[in-house]
Amino acid sequence: MASETSITTSAAETVPWRAALARHRTKALILLVAVVALAFPAVNGNAGDIDAVANALAFAALALGLNIVVGFAGLLDLGYAAFFAIGAYTYGILASWQLTPAWSSFWAPFAWLDLVQKVTQGNAAVVHFTLSFWIALPLSAAIAAFFGILFGAPTLRLRGDYLAIVTLGFGEIVPIVVRNWSSLTNGAAGLNGVAPPQLFGQSFGVEIVPYYYVAIGIVALLIFVSGRLRDSRIGRAWMALRDDAVAASTAGVDLTRYKLLAFAMGAAFAGMTGTFYIAKLQTATPDMFMFPVSVMILVMIVLGGLGSVWGVVVGAIFLQLLQSWFLPAISSWLHIVGNLIGSPWLQQIQLADAIELIFGIVLVLMMLYRRDGLIPAHRKQGALSFEQQNAQVGESHGFRMSGIVREDSSSVPALEIKGVTVRFGGLVALKSVDITVPAGGVVAVIGPNGSGKSTLFNVITGLTSAESGSIRLFGEEIIGLGPHKIAKKGIARTFQNLRLFTNLTVMDNVLIGQHARLSTGPLGAVLRLPGVRAEERRARERVMEIIGNFGNRLAPRANQNVAALSYANRRRVEISRALASDPRILLLDEPTAGMNPAETFELAQQIKDLHKLGLTVIVIEHKLDVVVRLADTVVVLDHGEKIAEGRPDEVRRNEEVLRAYLGRNAQAGSAGIAA
C-alpha cells in the first residue's frame, strides 16, 4: 500500500495533460468538421444534395434547441414545433404581401427604417412589409422565446409529465390557430411569396448555396451557445434540476426561473430556425409544424444523445439524410433486386414511407438499450489507478475552510423557531415546536423514527410549508420563502437519503452548491468575458479547497461521476455541496448514516472542526456517541412534539426521553439511550 499522502498532487499532475490531449483532439475534430462542412458545396455541386444537407442543418438547429429543454433541463416538450411555426410566421408575415394595411403617416418611420415600403396599388397606397431576414433572425428568436415563457409559465408548478401534455396541447393549438386565422396567415393554403434574404443588395433567390452557408452559420452559432451554456453556472443549474429538483432548490437554484429560461432558450433556437426555414422555402403552411415534426425532433435528440450537443447534431443530420438520401437509395437498390428476382412487391417498395415506423423503432430501442444515445453527453471517466484507489487517507489535520464567518453569539440567535406546526392532512407532523439555536452552536435533534425530525428540516429549508409559527434566521423571518431564497440567505442542508445529482461529477455537484453565490447570467455564460472566467476559476478553486478537507477521498475523484463513488464518499460530496454555499447555518440530516465506526469518527471530528471555525450546525443523528461528542444542546422530538431539550447528559437521563425510545415500561435507571 502506498504510504504517500501526496496522491492528490500526483493526480493533479496527470489530469492536465490528459485534459490537454482531449482538448486538442476535440479542437482537431471540430476543425475537420468545419472544413468538410464549408467545402461540401464546392465538392458536390448537386443542388439537390446541397438542399438536402441545408434542410438537415435546419433540423440540427431545432434539435439543439430541444436538447436544451429535454436534454439539459429534463423537461419533456412535445409541442416544440409550435415555436418553429411562430418563428417561421414571424418572418413570413413581415416579409411578404400577406398583410397590406392602408398607408398612413404612422408607417413613415418604419419605412425610413426599411421595415416597410409604401406601394401604390391602383389608387390606394398600401404598406408592404419588408423586414430584413437578418433582423428577423434575432427578432423571431425573441418572439418565440416570449411564447416559450408564456406557454411554459402555467405548467411549471406541475409535474414534468403534465408539462409534456400541456406542451402537446399548445403544439396542437398553434397550427389550428394558424389554419383558422386566415387573414393573418392565409390559412391552410399557406403563406406565399415570402421574400428571400438579401446580402449586400443581392437577393439569395432560389440559389441554394447561400442558404447552405447561412444554415452552417446558424448551426455553428447554436452549437457554440449550447456548449457555453452547458459548461456554465446556467447549464449546471439546468442539469441539477433535471437530476433532482428538490436538491437543486435547496442548493439555491430557482426552479421556476431556470425552467422558464430553458423553455425560452429552446424556443428561441426554434424561432430563429423557423425564420431560416421559411426564407429558404419562401412558403409556409400549417402542416409543416404539426405534432409529427415535434416527435421527429425528439427522435433526433434521443438518437444522438439527450444532453449531448454534438450528439443531437449528428442525430438530426443522420435522420434527415436517412429520409432524403439513404432510404430512397436503398429503395432503388431493392427495386433492382426486385426486377432481378421478379418480385413486384420489392419493385415498388418505398422505404421512405416507413420513416415514422423507423422513428418509433428508434425511440423504443434507444430507450430500452442505449438511453444515452449514440454520442453520450457524459463521457466515461477513466478509472482511478491502483495507487489512487488504495491511497491511504492522510491523518485529518483539522477542517480548514475560509469564508466561515464567526457570528456574534451574544446578539440574536442564529435560528429561532417558534410555535411551528406542520400538518399533512390529519397527521400532525410538528406540533407547535420551539427551538432556539444560538449563533455558533451545535444543536442535535434526536427522536424515534417518524417523530418529525426530517419534517423540521424541510420546514426550515422551505420544502414544506408550515401551518403556523415563525422561523427567524438571525432575526429575519424566513417562513414563506422558497427553498432557493432560504438557501441564498444562508441555510444549507444535506438529506437523509442522499440527494446528489447523479449524472454529474463531484466537481459539478459541489459547484452547484455555490449557485446562489455566483452571478453569471445566460449572456455572460455565452460570452465568457474575463469576469465570468475569473468567477468560474474561483468557484472551482473553492470546490477543491472544500473537498480537499476530506484528504484524498474526494480530490482525486473530482472529475468522476458521483454515481461511481462509495456511499460514504457520496455523503461527503453532499456535505461539501452544502458547505460550498457559504452557509451561516448547516443542517445535517443523519450525516453518518451508513458509515462504519472509523468513518463516523472521522466525520464527527470534521463537523466538530467546522463548529470550531464558528459555523452554526443543526444535526439529526441516531448515533448517540456522535451526538454527545458534537452537540451543546440536544432537542428530542416525539410524535411531532418537543419532549425534552438540554445538555446531552441531561437528556440522556430524562425519563420521558427514555420512554419515547425504550417504551413505557423501561426502567428509568437502565442502560440509557446510548446503549
Binding site: 405548467t155 408548478r157 396541447g169 399548445f170 393549438i173 389550428i176 415514422e356 415506423l357 418509433g360 423504443v364
Partner: protein, 309 residues
C-alpha cells in the same frame, strides 16, 4: 330543427361520444394511477381496437352498411366484435407493458413516456403501412330504428353505445371496488412498496391494469367505428388527446373522474361544434386542459397531489 331539438340532439350525440371518451380515459387513468405514466401507446391501442373490430365484422360477411341484421345474429356478431377487439387490445397492452415498459420501471425522467410515444408510432404505422391511408368504410349491421325525443332523433346505434359503455364502466367500477384484485390495484396505486410488502404481486397488478385499460380502449375503438361509420389510421391521435383531457379534467388516477370527464368532453365537443364552430373544438378542449392543470391540477374529483415527489 328548433334550437331545443338541436340542443337535445347534441346532448344525445355528446353522451355517445362521452361514453367513448370515458372508456378511453379510463385506460389513461388506471395506468397513471399506478405508474404515474402518461401512456401514449394508448392512442394506438384504441386505433387497433377500431381496426380489429372492423375486420371481425367483415369476417362475418358484413360490408359497409349494406347488410342489416336483427335479433340473435345481430347480438352474436356484435358480441364477437367487442370480444375480439377487447381481447386483442388487452393482450396488446400486456405485451407493451411487459416488453417495453417494465424494463424502464425504475428509470427516472421522461424515459418511459418517450418509449410509449415510440410504441404508439410503431403501432399506428403498422396500420398505416398495412391497411393504407384511405378512410375505411366501417361495417354497421344495425337496423334503422329511431325514436324521437323533443324533435331530436335517438337511434339504435346511440342506445347500443350507451348500453355497452355504461355496462363496461359499471363492470370496471365493480372490479376496482369489489374484487380482491381491484383492492390490490387500489393499494398499489396508493403505495406500491407498501402493497408489495403486504404480499401484493405488483407486477401482476400492473399487467392487469394494462389489460383492463387496453381492453376498454379496444371497445372504444369499435364504438368509434360504429358511431361514425368510418375508421382510419389517424383516429387515435385526436380521440386519444381528447380522452386524456377527459382523464385530467375528472382527476387523473380517479376512476369515476375519468367517466365524468369523458362525458363532459363529449358534450363539449358536440355542443361546442354545434354552437361555436367545429374548427375551434380542439382549441376549446386544450384550453380546458391547460386551465384545469393550472387552476385545479387534481381535476374535478381527484385528490391526488399534483406533485408528490
Amino acid at each position: 330543427m328548433s334550437p331545443t331539438a338541436l340542443f337535445v340532439q347534441q346532448v344525445i350525440n355528446g353522451l355517445s361520444l362521452g361514453g367513448m371518451y370515458a372508456l378511453l380515459a379510463l385506460g389513461f387513468t388506471l395506468i397513471y394511477g399506478i405508474l404515474e405514466l402518461i401512456n401514449f401507446a394508448h392512442f394506438s391501442v384504441f386505433l387497433w381496437g377500431s381496426f380489429i373490430g372492423m375486420w371481425t365484422l367483415e369476417a362475418f360477411g358484413l360490408n359497409g352498411q349494406s347488410v342489416v341484421l336483427t335479433g340473435l345474429p345481430l347480438i352474436g356478431v356484435l358480441v364477437a366484435a367487442f370480444v375480439a377487439s377487447m381481447l386483442f387490445c388487452g393482450i396488446l397492452g400486456v405485451v407493451i407493458e411487459r416488453y417495453s415498459l417494465r424494463p424502464l420501471r425504475n428509470v427516472t425522467g421522461p424515459m418511459a413516456m418517450i418509449t410509449t410515444i415510440g410504441v404508439s408510432y410503431i403501432l399506428f404505422n403498422v396500420i398505416l403501412l398495412g391497411a393504407g391511408a384511405d378512410t375505411k368504410n366501417f361495417p354497421n349491421p344495425l337496423p334503422e330504428l329511431r325514436f324521437h325525443i323533443l324533435g331530436a332523433t335517438l337511434d339504435l346505434r346511440v342506445i347500443l353505445i350507451w348500453i355497452v359503455s355504461g355496462a363496461l364502466m359499471l363492470g370496471l367500477w365493480f372490479f376496482v371496488q369489489r374484487s380482491r384484485l381491484g383492492k390490490a390495484m387500489r393499494a398499489t396505486a396508493q403505495d406500491p412498496d407498501a402493497a408489495r410488502m403486504m404480499g401484493v404481486d405488483v407486477d401482476r397488478v400492473i399487467l392487469i391494469a394494462f389489460f383492463a385499460g387496453s381492453a376498454l380502449a379496444g371497445a372504444a375503438g369499435l364504438i368509434f367505428g360504429l358511431y361514425y361509420n368510418f375508421t382510419s389510421y389517424i383516429i387515435g391521435y385526436t380521440a386519444g388527446l381528447r380522452a386524456f383531457t377527459a382523464a385530467v379534467l375528472g382527476g387523473i388516477g380517479n376512476v369515476p373522474g375519468a367517466m365524468l370527464g369523458g362525458l363532459i368532453i363529449g358534450l363539449i365537443e358536440s355542443l361546442g361544434g354545434q354552437f361555436i364552430a367545429v374548427k375551434w373544438t380542439d382549441v376549446i378542449i386544450f384550453s380546458i386542459l391547460v386551465l384545469v392543470l393550472v387552476f385545479r391540477p387534481t381535476g374535478l374529483l381527484g385528490t391526488l397531489a399534483p406533485s408528490k415527489s
